[in-house]
């Protein structure tokens, strides 16, 4: 459904994307993971026709999206990162407007507005103006506006930022349902449990490059995840005999068959300078750390 190849984009000297590829099949959910500034939003913006790449190609449902953006736009729905709704219009008016903008007939947009509102828990708020919605409700409406024309390709840029637990749940269920109905979904997030809940395939992007892609199981199998991470005050003892990698100031990791007990033994008296030690478990967080060498940022949980 989506076939983006060699996407390259620079803002002056800053390389936002460097020959990045992204392919998504019908019914597939792809979680695009990356730190802030990694290139996720740039990639989605290019796919949605909001930004011109310096190089590369985008095909959506076989349509050349860069050559025929209007035709490609009919196939996609995007919920950008920042909430964008008409606060002076009601929930129903917002949904019906975006349906009409996409060319839905009056009957179709009324039906779809009702369906999407029910899916996202907005049915009771149908006649409430956007300005009277809570942050979570506005976020749901923001996403609902991208779904109302039942797009074949859905791009969701951090849809749950600032959302409450109920909103997250509604969004995840809705995305899974759309994928089950055949839509291809690209979903960016910083929140790893969402990726697991979506059972999404994963693409990791860092500094504009795609670093890894595959299913969760494949990526965990591909990348050695065992090891320890520690913070140490002062200079490391010279004779640890381990392959220590510096990941940040005073922060190190050792990948491989090493346990916390081994580490403490090897440090000996210098162990008193250890600030923290943690085991690296084979989860998505660790996998992200292994692939990019950095932790993904965590938003504050609501």
């Amino acid at each position: 459904m989506l076939d983006a190849r060699d996407l390259t984009k620079a803002y002056g000297d800053v390389e936002a994307l460097n020959s990045a590829d992204l392919t998504v099949k019908q019914g597939q959910i792809v979680a695009l993971l990356g730190r802030n500034g990694a290139g996720k939003t740039t990639m989605l913006s290019i796919i949605a026709g909001l930004l011109q790449p310096d190089a590369g190609t985008v095909r959506i449902g076989g349509v050349d999206a860069l050559g025929d953006p209007e035709r490609a736009a009919r196939l996609l729905g995007i919920a950008p990162q920042e909430t964008g709704i008409y606060t002076v219009l009601t929930v129903r008016e917002n949904l019906e407007f975006f349906g009409e903008l996409s060319g839905l007939s009056r009957n179709d947009r009324t039906r779809r507005a009702t369906e999407v509102a029910e899916q996202l828990g907005l049915a009771d708020l149908f006649d409430r103006p956007g300005r009277k919605l809570s942050g979570g409700e506005a976020r749901r409406l923001h996403t609902a506006c991208a779904l109302v024309h039942a797009p074949q390709l859905l791009l969701l840029d951090e849809p749950t930022v600032g959302a409450d637990v109920a909103t997250r749940q509604h969004l995840i269920e809705t995305v899974k349902s759309m994928a089950a109905d055949g839509a291809a979904v690209v979903y960016t997030t910083h929140y790893m449990p969402e990726v697991e809940s979506l059972d999404a395939d994963i693409v990791i992007i860092d500094e504009g490059r795609i670093c890894a892609k595959g299913t969760r199981a494949e990526l965990i199998a591909q990348h050695q995840m065992q090891g320890v991470r520690f913070e140490f005050r002062g200079e490391l003892p010279p004779h640890l005999g381990l392959d220590v990698e510096s990941v940040a100031a005073n922060s190190y990791r050792i990948l491989g068959d090493v346990t916390m007990a081994d580490l403490l033994d090897r440090f000996g008296d210098a162990a008193s300078q250890l600030v923290s030690v943690e085991s690296l478990a084979p989860d998505l967080e660790t996998m992200f750390l292994v692939v990019t060498g950095r932790h993904i940022e965590h938003e504050v949980e609501p």
Binding site: A48, G49, L50, L51, Q52, E70, R71, A73, R74, L76, I78, P80, E82, T83, G84, I85, Y86, T87, V88, L89, E93, F97, F98, E100, L101, S102, G103, P129, C145, A146
Partner: protein, 256 residues
């Protein structure tokens, strides 16, 4: 076309849900009109219109002056989309830049014409404005041409200015300067010679010239043909330039 219609209906829906701006823009000139009537009447009598009451210039003058403020709304509605973060959603739809621009412009021309008509009727009732043999069709043509002209001017400015503050400043100063030079505040013949010389460069001058023909000189359609033609020609040029200059991917700043 479908997208342009959807955006056009959106403008009307937003206005219906939040009509206060237009309501204020209607009440303000109505409140101001009586203050100017006597002075304008004396000016007109001294200019040789012995039967004039002042309403013949006060009502059109305030419609032209406040019409410039109301025309700014088409620009504000464009910038507002950026403030609401909905602009990218419009761009990501199948709508072309030109259909989006048309979707904003067309309803505002209709609203602008309606606004002036209501102001003429209400102002006429309050101040006793009469056509006195002038053609209502001629008045409608002048009103429509003025609406097209100032809406196109605001679209051109909106496609040029990055921030809404610049448009706001231009609209406020422009309304007073253009209105003053064009004869919306005092009869044109009472302006200094240099002002009379530059007055034809303003849309207000041509609108007031047309209204004077209708309300003071019993003019018909042929009498307003020149001012209407000038305003429509300028509207076409401004709209063309706006469509060339308008870039949908340009980031605009709404009020911070």
């Amino acid at each position: 076309m479908t997208a342009a219609l959807a955006v056009a209906k959106l403008q009307l829906r937003i206005l219906r849900n939040d009509p206060w701006f237009l309501l204020i823009m209607f009440l303000m000139p109505l409140a101001v009109m009586p203050l100017f009537k006597q002075t304008m009447g004396l000016s007109l009598v001294s200019s040789g219109f012995s039967e004039a009451t002042g309403a013949e210039l006060v009502v059109p003058g305030q419609a032209v002056l406040f019409g410039f403020f109301v025309a700014g709304s088409v620009g504000f509605s464009l910038y507002r989309e950026h403030g609401w973060r909905t602009w990218d959603r419009l761009r990501a739809s199948a709508a072309s830049s030109k259909s989006l621009l048309a979707g904003f412009a067309i309803p505002w021309i209709v609203i602008h014409v309606g606004y002036q008509l209501v102001l003429f009727v209400a102002g006429g009732m309050v101040l006793g404005l009469r056509l006195n043999g002038g053609s209502p069709l001629a008045a409608l043509l002048v009103i429509t041409a003025y609406s097209a002209c100032v809406i196109a001017l605001i679209l051109l400015l909106s496609s040029t200015f990055r921030t809404v503050n610049r448009l706001n400043a231009f609209q406020n100063v422009g309304a007073m300067v253009f209105g003053g030079l064009g004869g919306a505040l005092v009869p044109i013949e009472q302006l200094p010679g240099w002002a009379q010389a530059v007055a034809p460069a303003t849309p207000a001058y041509w609108a007031m010239r047309g209204h004077r023909s209708v309300f003071l000189e019993q003019g018909g359609v042929s009498d307003v043909a020149l001012p209407v033609a000038v305003m429509l020609a300028v509207a076409v040029v401004f709209a063309f330039l706006a469509s060339l200059r308008f870039r949908a991917d340009e980031t605009k700043e709404f009020f911070a």
